[in-house]
Amino acid sequence: WLRHFCNFGGDEGRVHSRTIYVGHKSCPPNEAYIPPKFCDNRIVSSKYTVWNFLPKNLFEQFRRIANFYFLIIFLVQVIVDTPTSPVTSGLPLFFVITVTAIKQGYEDWLRHKADREVNEYRVSVLEDGRRIRKMSAKIKVGDILEVEEDETFPCDLILLQSSRDDGTCFVTTASLDGESNHKVRCTATHLQLLSLGPENLLLKGANLKNTQKICGVAVYTGMETKMALNYQGKSQKRSAVEKSINAFLLVYLFILVSKALVCTTLKYVWQSKHDETWYNEKTQKEKETNQYLKMFTDFLSFMVLFNFIIPVSMYVTVEMQKFLGSFFITWDKDFFDPEIQEGALVNTSDLNEELGQVEYIFTDKTGTLTQNNMEFIECCIDGFQYKHGDGSSETYFDKKEELFLRALCLCHTVQKEMGFIASSPDEIALVKGAMRYGFTFLGLESKNMKILNRNKDVETYELLHVLNFDPVRRRMSVMVRSKTDRRRFSVVTFFSLSVQEGYRTLCVAYKHLSAQEYARADADLREARLALQDREEKLMAVYNRVETDMILIGATAVEDQLQDEAAQTMEALQGAGMKVWVLTGDKMETAKSTCYACGLFKKNTELLELTLRTLEDGGRSREERLHDLLLEYHKKAVQDAPPVKLGITRLKLASGHDYGFIIDGASLSMVLSSSSEPNSRRYKNLFLQICQNCTSVLCCRMAPLQKAQIVKLVKNSKGNPITLSIGDGANDVSMILEAHVGIGIKGKEGRQAVKNSDYAIPKLKHLKKLLLAHGHLYYVRIAHLVQYFFYKNLCFILPQFLYQFFCGYSQQPLYDAAYLTMYNICFTSMPILAYSLLEQHICIEVLLEHSTLYRDIAKNAMLRWKLFLYWTALGIFHGLVFFFGVRFLFSNPALQDNGQVFGNWSYGTIVFTVLVFTVTLKLALDTRHWTWINHFVIWGSLAFYVFFSFFWGGIIWPFLKHQRLYFVFANMLSSVSAWLVIILLIILSLLPEILLVVLRKPRGPHARQVTLNCTAGDPQSPQSPARPLLTRTFSDESNTVI
């Protein structure tokens, strides 16, 4: 048996040491060992089970304030004698709860399915020397697992045995941290028993590469694995619209309470004057009730009577709109990527409208902006340029060229195992590039590098030293000795020069060393490597000494291919007023080149750089330098910038002066965590202000957590801008979770980002349509939905409130209970739902073409207080018109041509008819996109109302206590006066609306043109002269400040 003491300090939630019996061998009797209980390897991300679904879901739902409020109203109706039956609010509430429960149940079922897929994944377990296939969920701590190449580790393992000779194995952690390079892990040997480290640990979720199979012992399983611990429970994200709804709700709650208070007060004032009349005596119970209790229940009764002003059904309609609306994203064929055979994915439907509100985009570089696919484009040898394509046909190579290609083959850390493996993709690109010109790297065998040259000869070089790359030196070197000429030592160096034309450029240089020189360098290096103190500095000094007097041979240009239409997408997004920040873990040069390539930095962009390099210039302490630089940039970008008037688009500003800001991880951490608190806050502010005034910001060398920090910083800055993060790797997960909207790219680097995102799309280019078209439309739809809902309930309940003034504040409802209940559920809900699913006030092509249209709805434009007030005023106006129009008509209730009179239910029915028609027609006026569904639903709702009213009033319903509406509707229609008043009031109500449409300032010639284009029905209208796929604007390093 083996006993492991693992110690991975710092991992929160992990026991710092655990004892594991490998293979579950019984422990020796002499040792007092109580087998600890470890959880099994089951992954549970679902919330409910079949059994606890109902109670747990109900509990969750009633934690929502709105639902709880409706529950209280319902209970009040059940307990207190209220004007309306409990059914009126119970039925909608039941409906809401059921629909939400079904939706959540469905979502949880999907999670169960995903869990099952993971848990039932078959793995091989070695038990008593036999191999057993087992379900992943059944793995216990201490099991010995066998994992084969390309398989994913089902739990955290300690490597015990590898099929490779050297006892190592390679893993990729792409699905964990997004790094797709291969990492080496070593077998835990007996020598190491007491000091197992990360190099022995194989994390769940990582993939085994280039190793046939390994055996490992499970140490952490299930929810205790690193991956599960890293998985932060997705916190509920709430959209800006939802916050607006809550604010409006408070206003309406205030209106509701004040209405109830006014009525209660007036009731008692009225009662003091109008004593109990002989014709309407109180019941015994009423007489006995305590006066104050009576007042309280009266207040509650009024609350119940007016509670329809806070629309129960709004929640259900909003939920349905979001849920059903999100299907349009998954259904969109433009999001379908033939390569991966997948379309877009919607993980939460709660944030659809937030897609229309984005102000900041944080994008990952590798895999998101670029394809993470390096390609050797060209090289320059001795001043001559060679492009791929013309070089290979040439047969003649001069010495320089051969030297150059040989250098390419030697100076790298590439391993050859069924393809090339390296920690940096550009190394592979270079090796592959050399291969195209005839020099093939055959591999590294016990310190010997073999190269197949053009003449099909194998050249062998002994690798003596590798002088690793570091960002400060910005170069790497190797020392090799030729096997053929053993006295010849060479140093080959790559140094990254800069970024030109969007390519990553590396220079190649060499020098020959004499044996003495080598011996000295070798001694120095060995000494420095073994130094216990200042090892870094010492090494650096040696490196610098070695890498001098080099002879330049040439330069290479490697390109990280951009994603399709990356530049156009970025341009469109910037045109829509969004600021794009690139957050990458990559080197600054690479990142900068990408920024240039995709048009984030332009030729005339003045770059403000805040990196270790600029900080170390000038020879002063970093802290001081940071302070100075921040002030300087601030002066440049913020204070000196011409004041931008509102309304002037930023495009114009860009033509004047354009700033780009570059910061790296180290500098950022200095900004964020400066030594003194006041300084830190000041720096943060300065930093934010500079960044917000720059067109684009590039943050390089970011740790995943720092990405999230930046997002958080911007998110909480002034004005609380809406942020969006887009990334493809697990290293982007933190920022995807942090931002308001997280978008995952279904890229090569695993599914972590996709899983944690709110929306996932196959490619970056899809972001444009997702935001500009879908986001815009969703926002307009839901904003209108919200405003309309409040409006329609205000003018629904206002007549009821006014009626109290005419019925002695007795809580007499104006409308019949059926109408009260059905109004929001049946008569007026479908048209708005259809509207909120189908409306396209501007059609999709136009939205995509004119990205500036996105700015029209920025900053929650359709839910501002001004507009809310307008809708509220409209609701009040309509309510007044409905009530008093009918009130004046009823000054003589003899409305039929046979002299018969109408009663109170006729009154209510006339008001209600006017209400339903006006509210529906108001929506019809707002509808700009009439599909057959809109027609069907709008006219269908009205027809249904008429049909229902006939039906409801046509039968004596045995279950009803009161046959209030018996033939009321039919009789109403038999009265000409009722018809006339209904028509009059509908037209009068809609008149201001129509007038406003005409008087409203034309939305600019632009908008006009837009609508014209739109109606022309020409989806394939010529594209605006977009930039070519890759804009290779020449940009000079000199643009950089300093």
Binding site: T277, Y279, F328, C807, V901, G903, G908, L991, I994
Partner: protein
């Protein structure tokens, strides 16, 4: 509900879906490629109306031009309706019914009568409708409105014996169920009004009043029914119940005509339809036009003979008797006419104003732009 109906219809609106999807998916597995249907791609053919001055202006003019004549017509019609109102509450000392109103008592056995003289300036040509009007009477008070048992009124025997709780405190009296129960029935208007025409030569002619046709047909024939469907002897049917406390007669003695007695008594049905506002009128009698030669009510002096049973002074109410002719739009009400004329004129004026603005300032919207 909605969503499913969308999906059902998908099939009808497929544009070119199957071909494209099949191409990508091959024959093997169902591809995840979204279907290319007009609905799913949000490309349903749509009508996109644009409201511009061009489309709206004609609407304004049309509304204006339609509403003004309608309004004038309504106003003229309403003005042609003859209406006469007399208040017989007896609040003033000089009023003939003053004594009756002062000496009112529920227990008095002898009815108090008074006659109110009045003069009609014009002859009433067609059928005349006689209303009683009450003011400050809250028939729409919630406790009052619900204080009835529709099932009892529909002739349900069980409800007759066991009135609903809603009728409290008018459900039972001396442990006997009240029929009809409830506050509404209990407070039924029970003044009786007679019209007497005083000939220029002094002879008094009683005007014949029709007591039927005053309630909604459906109320009389469906909603209100006497219990014991076959049994025409109402006295037997209502045995075991008691009359409402304030009534002088039991329900089965409301009228001698069996078709207008019991719950289907039209006066009772009319009263049971609660009024919308505290000042209301209810149809009491119809004076049918007898001949084509003589007006229904000739010009001259009349006397309203009141049997004063209904107390309203306790709640500062008023009682009126209204004589009115009726047109196709109902009783006299100038509101509709005025409203139509004003809305029409406002529309018209706005139309003119907009036209001026439109012509002066903007040539931007020139034509109706409704396109498909």
């Amino acid at each position: 509900m909605m969503a499913s109906s969308y999906k059902d219809e998908d099939g009808h609106i497929t544009v070119s879906g199957s071909g494209a999807a099949a191409g990508a998916g091959g024959g093997s597995l169902r591809s995840k490629k979204p279907e290319n249907t007009a609905f799913k791609q949000q490309r349903l053919p749509a009508w996109q109306p644009i409201l511009t001055a061009g489309t709206v202006l004609p609407a304004f003019f049309i509304i204006g031009l339609m509403f003004i004549p309608i309004g004038i017509g309504l106003y003229v019609t309403s003005n042609n309706i003859k209406e006469f109102e007399v208040d017989y509450t007896g609040v003033e000392m000089s009023s003939p019914c003053f004594t009756c109103s002062q000496n009112f008592s529920w227990n008095s056995t002898k009815p108090c009568t008074c006659s109110v003289p009045f003069h009609l300036d014009q002859p009433y040509e067609s059928n005349v409708f006689m209303y009683y009007g009450l003011s400050n009477f809250y028939q729409n008070h919630r406790r009052y409105v619900k204080s009835r048992d529709d099932s009892q009124l529909n002739g349900n025997e069980e409800s007759l014996r066991k009135p609903s709780k809603e009728c409290e405190p008018y459900a039972k009296h001396n442990n006997k169920p009240i029929a009809p129960c409830g506050a509404i029935a209990n407070s039924m208007f029970n003044d009786s009004l007679e019209l007497i025409y005083i000939d220029p030569n002094g002879t008094k002619v009683q005007i014949p009043l029709t007591a039927t046709g005053i309630a909604w047909w459906t109320d009389k024939h469906v909603k209100f029914r006497n219990p014991g469907a076959e049994n025409t002897n109402l006295t037997v049917v209502f045995q075991g119940t008691t009359r409402p406390v304030n009534w002088r007669r039991p329900v089965f003695q409301l009228d001698s005509d069996p078709d207008n007695n019991g719950f289907i008594n039209e006066d009772f049905i009319v009263w049971m339809r609660t009024a919308a506002l505290p000042t209301f009128r209810k149809l009491y009698r119809i004076i049918q036009r007898r001949s084509n030669v003589h007006p229904t009510l000739p010009r001259g002096n009349y006397s309203l003979e009141v049997v004063y049973n209904y107390p309203v002074r306790s709640f500062e109410g008023r009682k009126r008797m209204i004589l009115s002719t009726i047109s196709w739009m109902g009783g006299k009400n100038p509101f509709l006419g005025i409203a139509y004329v004003s809305v029409g004129s406002v529309c018209f004026l706005l139309g003119v104003l907009l036209l001026i603005i439109h012509h002066k300032y903007g040539n931007r919207n020139n034509a109706a732009e409704i396109s498909h």
